[in-house]
Amino acid sequence: MALIDLANPTRFLTLVNRLLPWLAAATAILFAVGLYRALGAPDDYQQGATVKIMFLHVPAAWLGMMGWGLMSVAALGTLVWRHPLADVAGKAAAPIGAAFTFICLVTGSLWGRPTWGTYWVWDARLTSMLVLLLLYLGVLALYWTAEDPGRGARAAAILSLVGAVNLPIIKFSVDWWNTLHQPASIVRMSGATIDPSILVPLLIMAAAFTLLFFTLHLAAMRNEILRRRVRTMQLMQAQKFAEAGA
């Protein structure tokens, strides 16, 4: 089944209704396994038990960036390929990605207090993640102020593409600048530097959070399609009353 077959909203809704319970169950199972492994992981020799915030902070950061990447791909779908559900995908991804970015900033701040001695520092990584949150809020503002969902979606698509330039800046900020945030230790050319006893639970939690993202995303897409149908029905009913009254 090609992507274009999903362009029919009704067919997409039936697919989502069938898929969503399985996705939710898989998410729950992965969370159970991940949390068990995460809580059983050893303490860091230097940070002690606070290193376990990483199991929440790092997946949230990854998913915040992935959310914007998903919005950029959906933007291409809206503007270039004119896929009918691409703008729904982008609109659904925005609040979820913003929430994960916010979680990343808050958990990072709480982790920084005992380990760095400060809640916040204006280094490149933290600043670029804050800029990502501001860009998310800008896109959400575009969706809120647009009266016509289609027009707001197209404007937001352009902003998603423009803001995608921030993603490589976030990724490479710890390499390009001298930062307090620790440098890349997982996605590196020479392999990960984290011990497997902590890396494996981290990857399981990341997978669990990713499944959670897609579960919420598909449910949000379903909600958006139904919301647009309600709006169309309201407009049709209002037009009927107007014609009857005239």
Binding site: L79, A146, A155, I158, V162
Partner: protein
């Protein structure tokens, strides 16, 4: 006279004649810079240290306020639709409008920046450098602001939305502009790298800004 020059001169004439003209932006810049010592306190050493940053922030806010008028006025009286339907590429028409906007709104800011630097006790030698960084960086502010102006042209409360959209994108310009200004004043960091990156940002946004703004106008107003 080519179409590009015609749009350029038209926009320059309109900017200068309507709504207080070029001096309105400069006046706002002046007021913002005057407000800062009231809030921060009259300590001259402190003001000298943060002087370049205050000038940059004032220039950013002043150019942000004027961006609202860039497309909204033309959209209201229909000339934007004519530009979009014309044979001239929309990107070039927007580039002409943006250059006119920079010449009439941002260039006065650059010119009065040294005078305002006096009020902030900025070092006399440094005032020229700060003006130079503003000269190199305000085109980037204009061309990045184009994108936000095009996105918010047909929406309500466009002014506030414009600020929300544009400010995160202009953060790199602000960072490198102030870094260049401070490097020249205080040292020891070299002035070259941040200044050349600032110029690169201006040149890059000169190309990408009109393209993104044209796409935003086409998709947003169809």
């Amino acid at each position: 006279m080519s179409a590009f020059t015609a749009i350029l001169t038209r926009d320059m004439r309109l900017s200068v004649r309507v709504g207080g003209g070029a001096l309105m932006g400069a006046l706002f810049f002046l007021i913002v810079v005057v407000m800062m010592p009231f809030a921060i306190g009259p300590d001259l050493n402190l003001l000298a240290r943060i002087g370049p940053a205050v000038l940059w922030l004032g220039a950013l806010l002043a150019s942000l306020l004027a961006l609202d008028r860039l497309f909204a006025v033309d959209h209201e009286d229909g000339s934007l639709d004519l530009l979009m339907m014309g044979s001239m590429p929309l990107e070039l028409a927007i580039l002409a409008k943006a250059i006119a906007h920079w010449l009439t709104t941002a260039l006065p800011l650059v010119i009065i920046a040294p005078v305002l630097g006096l009020m902030l006790n900025v070092d006399l030698n440094a005032m020229g450098v700060v003006a130079l960084t503003l000269l190199a960086g305000t085109p980037a502010l204009t061309f990045i602001g184009l994108i936000g102006a095009a996105l918010s042209v047909a929406l309500r409360r466009g002014g506030l939305l414009l600020a929300v959209l544009v400010l995160p994108l202009t953060i790199p310009v602000l960072i490198f502009g102030v870094a260049a200004a401070n490097a020249a004043i205080v040292g020891p960091a070299p002035f070259g790298p941040p200044f050349t990156i600032l110029c690169a940002l201006s040149l890059g946004s000169l190309v990408l800004g009109p393209i993104a703004a044209a796409a935003a106008l086409r998709h947003g107003l169809e």
